[in-house]
Amino acid sequence: MSRVLSSAAEGDVSASASPSEPAAAPVTMAGALNQALADSLAADERVVVFGEDVGTLGGVFRVTDGLAARFGERRVFDSPLAEAGIVGTAIGMAMNGLVPVVEMQFDAFAYPAFEQVTSHLAKLHNRTRGRLALPVVIRVPFGGGIGGVEHHSDSSEAYYTHTPGLRVVTPGTPADAYRLLRQAIACPDPVVFLEPKRRYWSRETVALSVDGPSIDQAVVRRPGRDVTLIVYGGMVATALEAAAAAADEGWDVEVIDLRTLSPFDESTAAASVRRTGRAVIVHEAAGFGGYGAEVAARLTERCFHYLEAPILRVTGFDIPYPPPHLERFHLPSADRILDAIARLQWEDHDRG
């Protein structure tokens, strides 16, 4: 373990440097992310957390609550309000041996940093033939469903997944939020970490652990025989709700939580679709040119002879994100997912 910032650590980090086996306890996704940051800061002196309002305030979603007080201003600090500046300086810090974990306050406010992300963060490792590694994590609260005014609800994942050199991951549950964030911080590649803000307050009673599926893997959240729902982030809970309702209609639905959007865990998704022969991809982002189009294309190429019906997508409409009183018409719902399942060319004998 590196001790590069040891002289700078002002808080008592030894108390939880090696967390003992935790007992299952109720935790929100925001709380799990906070714990992941705290445990990463305690475990690795190279880790620094910075961004807008992440210090004294603890972040507008309180994900960094208490970290500045505990670890000191050299480890957790507020930056000037400029997203390109945050990512650009994070790149320089990583060049000099630190592991920066930075926050973009909201999805749409990350766009000023786009050039630094796509032209440098994603490419410097390749540009230097691997001599220069940038283990930077960019946390981005993303997606809608919280009644946010314009620019607070974008699903920006496709912009990042279209950029080779980046990893793009997103958790669907509190336990996975903890695990994935710890894994992202430990990862040598730059990671865009998308946090489904509508699930920040979702609760799970669980013992947080970094062990489990790796950062490369999708998981089966619910096994089923008839149809595969492929989802990520905020749509995981919606898909599980739809799967429960579908059971009443006689459909045995499998739910795949992708976790990692890039690289795409094709084998887990393809294995499921070959078993079920039917698939629906769900995301909040606009459908046209969206992430689901890539998944549908790849699964069609890999599973064509196993398919009983075309792969369908349930997505946001191809419109700018609506204002708060209209977002319910835009967001994929369990009902809309059930409608899509119903359109998968069923014969009577198909249902499990």
């Binding site: 500046g85 810090m93 630094q116 032209s119 410097l124 540009r127 230097t128 033939r129 590649d189």
Partner: protein, 377 residues
Amino acid sequence: MKTLARHSEAVGADTLLPSATPLQLIDADGHPGDNPGSLRLPGPDVLVELHRRMVLGRRFDSQSTALAKQGRLAVYPSSRGQDACQVGAAVALRRQDWLFPTYRDSMAVLTRGVPAEETLTLLRGDWHCGYDPYQYRVAPQCTPLATNTLHAVGLAYAARLKNEDQVALALLGDGATSEGDTHEALNFAGVWKAPVVFLVQNNGYAISVPLAKQTAAPTLAAKGIGYGIPSLLIDGNDAAAVYAAVRAGVARAAAGDGPTLIEALTYRVEAHTNADDATRYRDSAEVSGWLSRDPIARLEAYLRGAGLLSDAAAAELAADAERLAENVRERMNAEVSVDPAELFEHVYAKPTAALERQRAELLSELSDLAELEEPAP
């Protein structure tokens, strides 16, 4: 009447402003400049070294321009005319410091110690960067304008967080000062007191756009005050002044006093690149005017006047420069060897399964082609 409460501590604004006219240690005729300001003339060894590096740098530059015209380089943005900035800045850095160059700063990269062949890898086009940044403490030459300034601030601030004595020098041009990233870098550096030096090589043009269309500020150095950063306006064709200014900035940063902004007035003698036609936007009288302020000629005149450069030493240096050019020619005229499999190698720390598949597809496509091209037995 009550005064409004201030949200930040007052700073002595007058201490941040640059001089009204550029600071100069050696004038265009090789005599001591009459406006040295706070700058102090470097010792004889440094002056001789600056001259030597400029002669070598210019020969490297003219050879590279020729190679680009011959098609041996994909492109070459010349820094001829800016030799004093390129060399003065690179020589002023200490071993542990970092240089953050742009595409026009090949001469500075070479002067920092990167071998010519590794310096030219990007511009020849066989990879995006040919050297190990950690070996020379030189970041890859940056193509998108101003983005490197933020990397410099981040690297410098990390050094401060780690209590390490390390300073970053960001090179940028006048055009880059219009980019948002320059503003953000100056602002972050000022707030964080990052040990960084910004050297703006104001060569008068961003490709074709003159400075008057770039800014309404009285000088680019004057912008420092808006960030609480002290700034210097210097004669950028005076290698002694560039060296002294950067050295002072490095010393200030190393002492924990934060960033410095330097604007060096200079001129790009060649066109933007070999693909540009500079006669479309500037007249030859302007160019010849600047040629009479040549950075090498003035330092050479000074050195000869001070008895620091003999005819024999000058001839030996000229021969060294020719040897360097010959070496560059030889290496750049050799056939380029590239490995298509490497395209997939460094995208991630470890190639993904999808990239492994794509590499296999490309290699199989290439081996099929090779079979087709083989003559029948």
